[in-house]
Symmetry: C2
Subunit: 137 residues, 2 copies
Amino acid sequence: MSEAPAPTALLDALAFDRDGLLPAVAQQHGSGEVLMVAWMNRAAVEATLRTGEAHYWSRSRGRLWRKGEESGQTQRVIELRLDCDGDTLLLLVEQTGVACHTGRRSCFFRVYREGRLETSAPVLVAPDDLYGSSGKF
Amino acid sequence: MSEAPAPTALLDALAFDRDGLLPAVAQQHGSGEVLMVAWMNRAAVEATLRTGEAHYWSRSRGRLWRKGEESGQTQRVIELRLDCDGDTLLLLVEQTGVACHTGRRSCFFRVYREGRLETSAPVLVAPDDLYGSSGKF
């Protein structure tokens, strides 16, 4: 992903919601695994394009956030796609390590089956090793 | 997907937003292709589980909507997954025909590349053949 032109064509095509956000799906390039869904505002889109690393807007912390800034589990963006309505982004990424703060590869590790939620994926990295003992993120 | 138990375990784990909605990613089972992102409320989740066919909440039309109810391009749900925060669903589906109202397989047919939005997928079915000449959906 080149850093070059100002992303006017993209930003003009995006339909942010009333909070100035839209959902972004991060999918592992090649395997097709859906890793996570997070939120982007205009600044997150711009930072992502400028750096080639996925940035999101944290609704809980109220700030821009570079994926992996604390954990080291970064996402290099290979391709950025936009849906027909312009209100969702799809990022094809190269995920370093695990995407989920629980230490699992994908955030979608809970499967609903026969009335129960089952955990379908193992913890690959202990959360304390990702974030220290100071907090969740 | 069985119709059996009331989906209490799932509904209790879901974190709907202040409008009672959450985003749902529909992914083609097997290929991993991300087809679309739409919104679900509690009733859409319940209808999806009850019927095995994806239902969404249309924000533009303000009503529950069975995917393909007009176009015939339905989604049979193979598996339903929940993310770590419970605020996003991932549906693994068997998509009949095309997912996008433009007649393309996926809604994510626009790629941002070198400052421009490029169309990366062909129209497989003319929208008029999907919906008649009466409207977009």
